[in-house]
């Protein structure tokens, strides 16, 4: 088959480890165009790569030039990277622009990567939260508003423009080689803070499994909102222990105290706005995704933790 006949996909967040895994899985079958807000990444000669602000007019030129079949939107600026205002512009307004252009240029399939954080870490959370539960993250902290807003936007477009076939994925903690989010940094470090007396149940998905899930949801076109999480659970403190991290307890009550300590010490590894996620569990129910897409995560927790143990030995 001629290269030019391959259907084209735009993948955002191309500088991230997850996007690169997804690209590796799709590049045989599709012509990939990699886009990133933050920096230009060289992937290979046959993958054009752009550093671009979605809010600039030149972004539309990509749609004109490549006639994409689909968009896989993985790019999101995380809270530690930028100011709240810039993040809002990039994540929320940027996504709106992306969806608007997708509609204008007749894109047939859109995947939006969200996060389980949108449910909010609340003391009264039931376990196995399903997709219809309200998104309570915004009431806890201003720093997660853009995650919730991004979801709301994607939701509006999901119902308004059915031909975009939007699939929103809300994964649990993505971890593994190359992942640079908060939880992965904690598992990688030799010492990790914990809130004394709190060890919420967490779910982890290996980056390779997550990439498989994204590819599957692109190829099996079933639009909708899905949690993505393996059917396996572990408490935060046991996860640290299994990764060979020494636990540093921080006094947890009254609730202002840990916040104060973190801010005073400038502990960027343990951001204050995510504090509640290390206090109360947010356990999501991934069974709907597993059933719809006939999916099962392959890498067990033990393998994930072994990876983090090994990197400590080698450093």
């Amino acid at each position: 088959m001629n290269k030019k006949q391959k259907p084209r996909i735009m993948i955002t967040g191309a500088a991230g480890a997850l996007a690169q895994q997804v690209i590796n899985r799709l590049r045989e079958k599709y012509q990939i165009v990699a886009v990133d807000f933050r920096k230009q990444t060289y992937l290979s000669d046959d993958i054009p790569s752009y550093q671009i602000n979605f809010n600039k007019r030149v972004f539309e030129d990509l749609f004109r030039k490549f006639e994409f079949e689909g968009v896989i939107h993985l790019g999101r600026i995380t809270s530690s990277e930028e100011t709240r205002m810039r993040r809002y512009n990039a994540n929320v307004l940027g996504t709106q622009k992306l969806l608007e252009l997708s509609h204008k240029y007749g894109i047939k399939k859109v995947i939006v990567l969200s996060t389980y954080h949108v449910y909010g870490a609340n003391a009264y959370n039931p376990a196995l939260i399903d997709e219809t539960a309200p998104l309570k993250a915004a009431e806890l902290t201003m720093d997660l508003i853009d995650s919730v807003e991004l979801e709301n936007l994607a939701n509006i477009y999901l119902w308004k423009y059915r031909d975009l076939n939007i699939t929103i994925l809300r994964p649990c903690n993505i971890v593994g080689p190359g992942v640079q989010n908060t939880i992965s940094s904690l598992l990688s470090s030799k010492h990790a803070p914990v809130l004394a007396g709190f060890s919420p149940i967490m779910q982890f998905i290996h980056i390779d499994d997550m990439a498989d899930a994204i590819v599957l949801s692109y190829e099996k076109n079933k639009s909708g909102i899905y949690n993505v999480a393996p059917e396996d659970w572990v408490s935060y403190q046991e996860a640290l222990e299994r990764c060979g991290c020494a636990r540093i307890p921080i006094p947890s009550i009254p609730p202002v105290l840990p916040r104060l300590i973190i801010k005073t010490l400038g502990l960027s590894i343990f951001p204050a706005f995510l504090l509640n996620y290390f206090k109360y569990p947010v356990v999501i129910d991934g069974r709907s995704f597993n059933k719809t897409f006939n999916y099962k995560a392959k890498r067990p927790l033990k393998e994930i933790f072994r990876f983090y143990r090994e990197i400590k030995k080698n450093s």
Partner: protein, 271 residues
């Protein structure tokens, strides 16, 4: 290795280990379930608890075979004694029964998750935040769930109100009907005497954000506990009016009341 495996090796007898291994639990590869129950912690706690159950409270059970071996079950009991001792005793009784043991889950008050150490500890031994979604998901998983429909109205009551049933919430009946769960009523006698409270300091409770602050001695009395399990009850689902639901709840409540009377009449002395 770590503390948990050390304690397990030191404390858990072979007999208890085999008994608890007989119970099927939907846990993941590391022994946790979504609500935080942990197989290993539970074994350690149970082995520590066996003395408390057998020697301290000298629990006497009757009719425990009334709880079906399989399928969704709601174990409905009267609540008493300030701390969740009653739920733990019912759980231990059912997990150690000879035939078809089960590990029931107890629904606990909403403020427990906010208490450091205690909240996590209770989760690890099978207690779950008393939220209807949790209960529904567990019944879907064919679990046995202990529910105290009186909630804090029951556990926080004063000694002078002992063995008076407070208002029952209707939630459990709706879940029983929706998930076709068997209802097994239980009358708990003895827990009222474990922590007798003479008053509740409401302003302090409000300030601390806890449901009640009892004035009581800082000891748990070794009252003898009777657990009387009633006959299983089934309730048809479908389109049922709230009035009818309330009537069914009253029906369960009156059975529990009879079971309490039975326990009280069997009891020779308090301790």
């Amino acid at each position: 290795m770590n503390l948990k495996s050390y304690l397990k090796e030191k404390l858990v007898s072979k007999e208890l280990d085999t008994q608890l291994n007989k119970i099927e639990k939907p846990v993941g590869t590391l022994g946790y379930d979504p609500w935080g129950f942990n197989v290993e912690t539970n074994k350690v706690v149970f082995s520590l608890f066996s003395g408390i159950y057998n020697q301290y409270f000298r629990v006497k059970t009757e009719g425990i075979e009334n709880i079906p071996a399989k399928g969704p079950v709601l174990i409905i009991a009267n609540h008493s004694g300030q701390l969740p001792i009653d739920g733990t005793l019912i759980g231990y009784a059912l997990a150690t029964r000879k035939n078809a043991p089960r590990m029931p889950r107890a629904m606990i008050e909403r403020f427990f998750p906010t208490v450091p150490f205690l909240g996590n500890f209770l989760n690890q031994i099978g207690a779950v935040l008393g939220d209807p979604v949790n209960c529904a998901k567990m019944l879907e998983n064919n679990e046995a769930v202990v529910v105290f429909p009186e909630g804090i109205r029951g556990s926080g009551k004063l000694y002078r109100d002992r063995y008076q049933l407070k208002r029952f919430g209707n939630g459990f009946m709706h879940l029983a009907m929706k998930y076709n769960a068997t209802v097994v009523p239980v009358g708990v006698v003895g827990c009222e005497e474990t922590i007798p409270a003479i008053a509740n300091i409401k302003p302090l409770a409000k300030m601390l954000g806890v449901p009640y602050v009892p004035i009581a001695l800082p000891i748990i009395f070794p009252a003898k506990v009777h657990l009387n399990f009633g006959k299983p009850m089934k309730f048809e689902g479908g389109d049922v009016s709230e009035e009818e639901v309330t009537r069914r709840v009253e029906q369960v409540k009156s059975v529990i009341s009879d079971l309490i009377d039975k326990g009280l009449s069997e009891r020779k002395r308090l301790f």
